[in-house]
C-alpha cells in the first residue's frame, strides 16, 4: 500500500473550491514534486496533508508503514516575528515534539536527534547563534534541521529555495537529495524551480486548470508541461 494517497480530493476556503478532484499516491522513498502557478493551491494541499486544514471532499489516506509522528514540515513563509530571541539549538530541538504521549522535557534521545540533524545540515558552528541574526540561507538550513527532527518518514518542503543564491540553492538541493537517498525519507516538495523539479523528482504533480500526476518522464511528454514550462526545459 502507498505511504500516502489522495483520491478525489477537493480543497478550498469558505465554500470556494480551489483544487478539484485530485488523485495521487506517494510511495516510501519517493522524491515527489508539486508544481503549478501561484495561487493554484499547492500550499493548501500541503496543509491538508498535515491535517492543518480539512478537505471539502475526499481524504488523505496514510499507509500502515507511516507512523503518525513521522512527518516533518518546512513552511513556505515562517511568520516568525522579527524580534524573536531564540538560539539555533533551541529551534532545532523544538522539532522533537513527540506526538501522543506527553513529554514535558526533552530527553537524551531528542537531544541526540537534534545534534544529528544539525550535523546533517552542516550548521554545527551556528548552534549557539541567535536565529534572527542569521542570513536567509542559514535560517532556511536551521528550519530544515528542525523539520528533520520530526521527519522519520516524510519531509514536506514548501518552496525551500525561495530567496537563496544559486550556490546555496544547489547545496540545499544536494542536502535534500541526500536525505532522500541516504536516509530513505520520502520528500514532498513544492517548487517553482521547474528545472530542479525535473532534475531530481521521481514523480510530479501539477496543479492547475487541469491536474496532472505521473512520473517525471510522463510529465515531460505531457501537454501540460509543454504549455507550462516550454521555455524553461531546454
Amino acid at each position: 500500500m502507498a505511504q500516502l494517497s489522495c483520491k478525489k480530493l477537493c480543497l478550498g476556503y469558505d465554500g470556494h473550491e480551489i483544487v478539484h478532484n485530485l488523485n495521487f499516491s506517494v510511495e516510501k522513498g519517493d522524491y515527489f514534486c508539486i508544481v503549478g502557478e501561484n495561487g493554484s493551491g499547492k500550499t493548501t494541499l500541503m496543509k491538508t496533508i498535515l491535517g492543518l486544514q480539512p478537505a471539502f471532499k475526499g481524504k488523505v489516506e496514510t499507509g500502515d508503514n507511516l507512523k503518525n509522528n513521522g512527518i516533518g514540515y518546512l513552511p513556505q513563509q515562517t511568520r516568525v516575528q522579527r524580534d524573536f530571541p531564540a538560539s539555533v539549538w533551541e529551534i532545532v530541538l523544538s522539532g522533537c515534539q513527540n506526538k501522543g504521549k506527553f513529554h514535558p522535557f526533552y530527553n537524551k534521545k531528542d537531544k541526540a536527534l537534534a545534534e544529528e540533524s544539525i550535523k546533517k545540515m552542516g550548521i554545527e558552528d551556528l548552534k549557539k547563534r541567535c536565529y534572527r541574526e542569521l542570513s536567509g540561507g542559514q535560517q532556511q538550513r536551521v528550519l530544515l534541521a528542525r523539520a528533520l527532527c520530526a521527519a522519520s518518514d516524510i519531509l514536506l518542503l514548501d518552496e525551500p529555495v525561495t530567496g537563496l543564491d544559486p550556490k546555496v540553492t544547489e547545496e540545499l538541493y544536494r542536502l535534500i537529495l541526500e536525505i532522500n537517498k541516504k536516509y530513505n525519507i520520502t520528500i514532498i516538495m513544492i517548487s517553482h524551480d521547474i528545472q530542479a523539479a525535473v532534475k531530481y523528482a521521481d514523480k510530479i504533480l501539477h496543479i492547475g486548470e487541469k491536474n496532472f500526476f505521473g512520473t517525471k518522464e510522463e510529465y515531460l511528454n505531457s501537454e501540460i508541461s509543454k504549455s507550462f514550462a516550454r521555455e524553461v526545459i531546454k
Binding site: L50, L52, R79, A86, S87, S94, K99, E133, R146
Partner: protein, 283 residues
C-alpha cells in the same frame, strides 16, 4: 542616608512589611515569565483587556459584598480570557475591536457600579487604588498572602512544565501544530495563566499598570540576550529585583507601590537598552 537605612530596618521589623515584600516578589516573578510570549504573540492587548475585566469584576464583588472576592474575580477573568481568545482566533469577527469593546465596557460598567451602589465614603480613593494599585499591599491579610503565594507557585510550575511547548507554539505555531503539538490547547493555557497572573497582580500594581509589569522585564532582557532561555531567566531576575527595590523605595518615601515598581522597571529598561547598543557597537 543613614536615616533611610535605619528607617528601613525599623519597617522591616514588622511582619506585614515582610508579607508585602514576599508577595510582591512572587507576583513580579510570575508576571515576567510570560512576557516574551505575550510581547511576541501580540497577546499584550489581551492582557490589557483582561485587566479591565478584572477591574469590573472587583467592582461587582465589592458591591455585592463578597468576602472572598479574589476567587470571584479569578473565575470571571479566566472565563473572559477564554472568550477573548476565541474571538481573537476567529478572523471573521475583528478580534481587536471586540477586545476593545469588552475592556472599555468593563471599565465603564465597573466605575458605574462602584459609583451608584458603593457605600464607601472614599469612592474616588477606592477607584484610584483599584486602577493604580494601592498601599493595600501593606494591609494584606494572611489569607490573601497565602492565596497569592499559591497562585504564584501554580503559575511557575505550569510554566516550567510547559516551557518547551510554550516555546514551540510561540516561535512557530503552524509548524508546532503540523508536528502534533495541540497549539490551540496551549494558547488556551497561556490565556488562562495570563488571567491568573493579572488577578494576582491586581493587589500589587493595580489593573492599569499590570501590562507594564508583564512587558517591561521581557523587553529589557530582549535588548541584551539572544536565546529564549536566557531572556526568560533574565526577565525573571530583572522583575524580581525591580519589585524588591520598588517596594522598599515606596515604603521609605511613602510613594505608591505600583507606580514606583513600574518606574524602576522603566529605568532598568533604559539601562539595558544602552548595554544592548554598546554591545552591538563593540562587535
Amino acid at each position: 542616608m543613614t536615616d533611610i537605612i535605619s528607617n528601613l530596618s525599623l519597617y522591616l521589623t514588622y511582619p506585614f512589611v515582610w508579607y508585602a515584600v514576599i508577595v510582591g516578589v512572587l507576583i513580579a516573578l510570575c508576571s515576567s515569565l510570560l512576557g516574551v510570549t505575550l510581547v511576541l504573540k501580540r497577546f499584550s492587548f489581551i492582557g490589557d483587556g483582561l485587566s479591565h475585566v478584572a477591574f469590573g469584576a472587583i467592582a461587582i464583588a465589592s458591591v455585592i459584598n463578597l468576602t472572598n472576592n479574589i476567587f470571584f474575580v479569578l473565575v470571571i477573568t479566566v472565563i473572559c480570557a477564554v472568550l477573548l481568545l476565541r474571538t481573537g482566533s476567529n478572523t471573521k469577527i475583528k478580534g481587536d475591536a471586540s477586545i476593545a469593546m469588552i475592556s472599555v465596557g468593563a471599565l465603564a460598567i465597573g466605575y458605574l457600579i462602584m459609583n451608584v451602589f458603593s457605600t464607601s465614603s472614599n469612592l474616588s480613593g477606592d477607584v484610584c487604588s483599584t486602577l493604580f494599585g494601592s498601599t493595600s499591599i501593606l494591609t494584606l491579610t494572611g489569607v490573601e498572602v497565602w492565596v497569592c503565594a499559591a497562585l504564584s507557585v501554580i503559575v511557575v510550575a505550569l510554566f516550567i512544565i510547559f516551557y518547551n511547548k510554550i516555546f514551540a507554539v510561540t516561535f512557530d505555531e503552524s509548524f508546532a501544530e503540523a508536528v502534533g503539538t495541540r497549539s490551540k490547547l496551549y494558547n488556551l493555557l497561556i490565556a488562562v495563566i495570563i488571567a491568573v497572573i493579572i488577578v494576582a497582580a491586581m493587589n500589587l500594581v493595580g489593573s492599569l499598570l499590570i501590562s507594564a509589569l508583564v512587558i517591561f522585564p521581557a523587553l529589557s532582557a530582549m535588548r541584551v540576550f539572544k536565546s529564549f532561555k536566557s531572556v526568560t531567566v533574565c526577565a525573571a531576575c530583572i522583575s524580581v529585583v525591580c519589585a524588591l527595590f520598588g517596594i522598599l523605595i515606596s515604603i521609605v518615601f511613602a510613594a505608591p507601590v505600583g507606580s514606583t515598581i513600574v518606574a524602576v522597571d522603566i529605568v532598568v529598561f533604559f539601562i539595558f537598552m544602552i548595554i544592548g547598543k554598546a554591545r552591538g557597537a563593540s562587535k
